[in-house]
């Protein structure tokens, strides 16, 4: 059942209201419908700004993208996702909660309510109190509603799916019951196709509507070679890793393992031209600092260069990687140049001279 009535409402996996409101009016549509003809898609190339430099500068997102947070269970992924959702200029935010703790469900409800964004939220939730098998319906419910708003209303829709690991676990329960030959990690052999069917619903349509999917895949002990994150990584357009940085005592977006595949569609094109090179140089220098830290841990003396990279890394983490940053991309790039000039010589950057001529200040 889809229709305008969905906005502002909370449902269970069968689309029945759980917010005490009436049953929505609208038309019935079959779930798991056909796929969009690739010819009818548009190249996703509209910047989705979050204000977080670890995302906007290093892993720029675009509308129509599909990207998960890879996070350990104790990391604040739901908080970051809610923050990003509220900052992204979406017309609708559709939350698909699978195996949500009741507290988390209430967290999402409150944060959207407090932000005055309730009118653009649609929520389908399966909490830990509901049977796990029902989770399998959640993504279809969320995405079929998303398609309604994106295709029929040409709206920019952001779909949040949390936690896809619990979804995959439910898949494996079903396939084991059906006696299918299990593949790696006792997951069904069709896990790749099953997940792709969901994530590929993300699209930019010709008429301007879009479906962006942001998901959470919890890891066990940070292991990304496990079938669930592994297959997810092969499907999504990058992934975002959260990491606790002990130097500054804050959660940062890990610049090494995080990746946005679609950033190349916008960086240096919709953002300032020096963006790609500044991004790469700043991450490389941060890597040098990580190496310096290893040296230090192994009891070796640091060179003068090592010391500079370390100082740079604290400031880079605090002013750009931390998730509490909220600035625009031009400001991010300016800060990066400020740090470059403060700690390094021009040859240490490896940036095209056309850009150093413009932005290098010393």
């Amino acid at each position: 059942m889809v229709g305008n009535d969905l906005a502002g409402r909370f449902f269970n996996a069968f689309g029945l209201p759980i917010d005490g409101g009436p049953k929505p009016e609208g038309k019935e549509v079959a779930v798991a419908g056909p796929s969009v003809n690739p010819i009818r898609r548009k190249l996703p190339s509209e910047l989705l700004a979050t204000g977080i430099a670890g995302i906007d500068m290093n892993n720029t997102l675009v509308t129509g993208q599909k990207i998960p947070f890879f996070a350990d269970a104790n990391q604040p992924f739901n908080q970051v996702m809610a923050l990003v959702a509220l900052r992204a200029k979406a017309d609708k935010i559709i939350l698909g909660g699978m195996g949500l703790l009741n507290d988390d469900y209430l967290f999402f409800k409150n944060i959207f309510e407090n932000a005055g964004a309730l009118h653009k939220i649609v929520c389908f939730a399966n909490t830990t109190e509901d049977p796990p098998i029902e989770r399998l319906l959640i993504p279809d419910m969320a995405l079929i509603s998303a398609e309604y708003f994106a295709i029929e209303k040409n709206e920019k829709v952001l779909v949040l799916l949390t936690d896809m690991t619990l979804y995959a676990d439910a898949l494996s329960i079903v396939s084991n019951r059906m006696d299918q030959i299990p593949s790696k990690d006792s997951m069904p052999g069709s896990l790749y196709s099953d997940l792709a069917r969901i994530y590929e619903k993300a699209a930019q349509f010709e008429e301007g509507g879009s479906i962006t999917i942001m998901a959470v895949t919890t890891l066990s002990g940070g292991d990304i070679t496990h079938s669930i994150p592994d297959n997810t990584g092969y499907i999504t357009e990058g992934q975002l890793f959260l990491k606790y940085n002990t130097d500054i005592g804050k959660v940062i977006i890990d610049p090494f393992r995080s990746l946005s595949r679609l950033k190349n569609n916008v960086i240096g094109k919709k953002t300032r031209k020096d963006h790609p090179q500044v991004m790469n140089a700043s991450i490389r220098l941060y890597l040098d600092a990580v190496n310096a830290k290893t040296k230090l841990d192994n009891g070796f003396e640091l060179t003068e260069y090592d010391q500079r990279t370390l100082k740079y890394s604290y400031e880079y983490a605090d002013r750009l990687l931390a998730i509490d940053v909220n600035i625009d991309t031009t400001r991010m790039l300016d800060i990066a140049w400020e740090l470059f000039s403060k700690y390094f010589s021009i040859e240490e950057l490896g940036i095209k001279s056309t850009f150093t001529d413009l932005y290098w200040k010393k």
Partner: protein, 595 residues
């Protein structure tokens, strides 16, 4: 879709996802195509096993809603490709249905569009005289398709010699119009049109000889051309964990490689990645002809959300188109991303058929299937003495990034070039993340290939490349030593060795696929850079302390990088050359011991 009456018919007897069991009323052949009629909509399917009166067919569509008892019509034909002018610049699904002429936003099952435009007129000109003896694959005439001389050939399915009884004069024809009449030795006439059909799972064999490939194919990617070159007619594969750069690398190759025709098979990967090709290729220039890239390109898309059963077919469809253009004496580049998704599709079906599973539940004959597929590539001499080639490069997506798995291992036996992408290089943004030490090109062991390399570059080319590779290996050891013993626990020479390899890494191996100039380095420029880098780092440099080593090399690397970003031999490029000269000069004057 034409269904001829005397073919067998059947009824749906059982359904296991997209494996459907059909009871049949007459003879059928293995791999025969049939249509299952689901509420007036014909769903295309292929016979994969027969047993008594039962046929096991794999349906190329989602079978949701299909009912037992549904009517089935067999066609008497195997899965065929329609070959003719109009293929170039097209976008197809895995079964070669034209995506552009399908209706609506969504792909609707049963919306089977024609591979080539049957109404379009082409200007045909004959190139042989009537009375000539001809056989399958011989060129009868040509039309100009985009920029390509598209040969109209004697149908590949014809066996033996034929007399060209009549050939039509130059003029405007539809692909279905007769352009020639052949006579066999029983006096039977066979009309020839500009299109023909070929069963995709069989190789097109209209050549006289298939020698070992020997000529380097320029990709413009330094780490490939310089370190592990691929040849015209060669095979290669790119395994790597997710996000390591397989697709970006293949797309760079598809844009830059020295090929007449490029066929891109998007096999079970992201739709947005081919949307990128749709968006970019009509705008970008082919560096070899100056025309638009889309003009030499064919795209076959069976993305991850399209029917899994058509994934197997999509690879064969792509290879058949490649063989068709090779038979015209053209150099075809075929790229498939990712062959692992193809293997997974085979696995899904094999599991449904309850076949005895091999390693990781893949079918037992996976290695054979893979090696047969790779063997369809190659450099060939045609009947008329001309040559053509299919260069094939596939990506492999190993589970967990672990190369000890069936698809990688089988492919390693079948492909001659191995471009291993390393997670560590990708994480530190050292793109393309090809591991220079693990990767190889077997063509460097072929005498005939070495000979063409030497004549393309210089007589001592291979010696130089081996020198560079050795420096990279030593650099790796040096890095390990520094890590274990500390900066001042090793000799200054160890630091120099490390930084020599860093220079090679930053200047030759790394290449920015998104920079307009750096993305493509022609062979001439690669040769120049190899020489100048080798010359610069081989100077016996003197340093007072290890602390001086890094700054010197950082400067050196920076100048080289600036050169990579500039137009070859432009004024700016020359300025950087001067800088380089000064830098080295300065260093040697600074350290007179060296002179």
């Amino acid at each position: 879709m034409m269904v001829i009456n005397q073919n067998s018919k059947g009824k749906v007897h059982g359904i296991i996802s997209n494996l459907v069991i059909v009871s049949v009323d007459g003879p059928i052949i293995q791999n025969e195509i049939c249509y299952i009629i689901k509420e007036d909509i014909p769903l295309m399917a292929e016979v994969i096993k027969t047993s008594g009166q039962m046929a096991y067919v794999q349906v190329f569509e989602n079978t949701t809603g299909l009912k037992i008892g549904a009517h089935v019509e067999f066609t008497g034909n195997m899965l065929e490709a329609t070959l003719g002018p109009g293929l170039l610049s097209s976008q197809y699904d895995g079964l070669l249905h034209d995506l552009k002429s399908m209706k609506g936003t969504f792909l609707q099952p049963g919306d089977y569009t024609s591979t080539v435009d049957l109404e379009r007129f082409w200007n045909f000109s004959p190139t042989v005289d009537k009375g000539t003896l001809v056989r399958a694959g011989d060129w009868l005439g040509s039309v100009i398709e985009n920029n390509v001389n598209h040969r109209i050939m004697v149908p590949f399915t014809l066996e033996g010699d034929y007399l060209l009884e009549n050939i039509f004069p130059e003029g405007s024809y539809k692909v279905t119009d007769t352009i020639a009449i052949l006579l066999d030795n029983h006096g039977k006439q066979t009309p020839v049109t500009m299109i023909q059909k070929w069963p995709v799972k069989k190789a097109i064999h209209v050549y006289t000889d298939k020698p070992r490939p020997f000529k380097i194919m320029e990709t413009g990617i330094r780490v490939i051309d310089t370190f592990s070159p691929i040849t015209l007619g060669g095979t290669g594969f790119i395994p790597g964990p997710f996000g390591s750069g397989k697709t970006v690398l293949q797309q760079s190759i598809s844009k830059q490689a020295e090929a007449d025709i490029v066929i891109v098979a998007a096999c079970g990967e992201r739709a947005n990645e081919i949307v990128e090709i749709f968006a970019e290729f009509p705008q970008l220039d082919d560096p070899w002809t100056g025309r638009k890239l889309i003009e030499r390109t064919i795209i076959i898309a069976n993305t991850s959300n399209m029917p899994v059963a058509a994934r197997e077919a999509s690879m064969y469809s792509a290879m058949t188109l490649a063989e068709y253009y090779r038979s015209m004496g053209l150099n075809v580049l075929l790229l498939a991303d990712s062959t692992s998704r193809w293997a997974q599709a085979l696995r899904e079906m094999s599991n449904r058929m309850e076949e005895l599973p091999g390693p990781d539940a893949f079918p037992m004959d996976l290695p054979t299937i893979i090696s047969n597929f790779y063997s369809r590539a190659g450099f060939v001499y045609l009947n008329n003495g001309q040559n053509g080639s299919i260069t094939f490069i596939g990506t492999v997506s190993p589970a967990g990034g672990n190369l000890r798995e069936p698809v990688t291992e089988s492919t390693k036996k079948a492909a001659r070039c191995f471009y291993a992408l390393s997670q560590a290089r990708a994480d530190s943004k050292r793109y393309p993340a090809i591991d220079p030490i693990e990767s190889y090109s077997k063509y460097l062991e072929y005498d005939e290939c070495i000979a063409t390399l030497n004549s393309t570059f210089s007589d001592d080319w291979l010696i130089k490349i081996n020198l560079l590779k050795n420096m990279l290996r030593k650099g790796k050891d040096a890095a390990d030593q520094i890590n274990i013993l500390g900066d001042d626990g090793v000799s200054i020479d160890t630091h120099v060795t490390f930084w020599q390899s860093e220079t090679i890494d930053f200047v030759i191996l790394q290449q920015d696929a998104f920079d307009d100039i750096d993305c493509r380095t022609p062979l001439e420029r690669q040769k120049f850079m190899v020489n100048i880098v080798l010359e610069s780092i081989s100077k016996s440099l003197f340093f007072d302390s290890f602390e001086e080593v890094r700054p010197f090399f950082k400067k050196l690397i920076n100048v080289f990088q600036q050169m990579n970003y500039r137009e070859f031999m432009s004024d700016e490029f020359s300025n950087h050359m001067q800088e380089l000269h000064d830098l080295i000069q300065h260093n040697t004057i600074h350290n007179p011991v060296n002179l």
